[in-house]
Symmetry: C2
Subunit: 118 residues, 2 copies
């Protein structure tokens, strides 16, 4: 991660240790940083939540967005979808251990964000 810009004798520049394509920060952001992704993970922190309840909690995110994000999170193994009832279809989403491992970062982000009351 220590990128070093090297200048040769003729003023030409090259970088040693450049971020190999998307670097760790960028990769991490792509797991956690998508629009609404962090909020969804954070709202699942205490217990499994049902689809529409999540929508109500998130205020501002469309059903399509939530659906899309949940599917991405499921594909990455951060969230599990569980059908808890058939007759009237009822589904909950909950965090996996991996999903849970992101909570610390999100909690820090929340504290930082609130401290800078933007």
């Amino acid at each position: 991660m220590e990128s070093i810009v090297k200048t040769d004798s003729r003023g030409r520049k090259t970088v040693l240790n450049a971020c190999t394509e998307p670097c760790a920060i960028e990769k991490g952001m792509r797991l956690i940083g998508g629009k609404w992704t962090g909020s969804i993970i954070y709202h699942l922190k205490d217990s499994p939540v049902r689809f529409n309840d999540l929508g109500r909690m998130l205020g501002g995110a469309s059903k399509k967005m939530i659906d899309q994000r949940l599917k991405e999170l499921e594909a990455r193994g951060m969230v599990v979808r569980k059908v808890i009832n058939d007759r009237p279809v009822a589904v909950t989403y909950e965090l996996t251990e991996f999903g849970r491992s992101a909570l610390k970062i999100l909690e820090d982000l929340r504290v930082w964000s609130e401290a800078n009351s933007i």
Copy 2:
């Protein structure tokens, strides 16, 4: 942040403490989470960096993106643009105290991201 879904006697649901529009996590993500934003902040952590050097370090981000992100970061007071030379125009970008305050989160994100080598 403790959203509670309340169900009334007739099964109607409402949420207490819903995320008031974009909640803290979401707001924080909008400061730090945009594409390349986190990476840019992180690469400015040690010293001021020049525009094109940043481009070389980030590998994969276009000049337009970097320019756009730097302008946003400047507008939010997270980064300062400094003209260090006129004859051949030379510019550096460096973090403000506020910008610097985001580094801990980014560092944690990097560690998490690398640990889960995605």
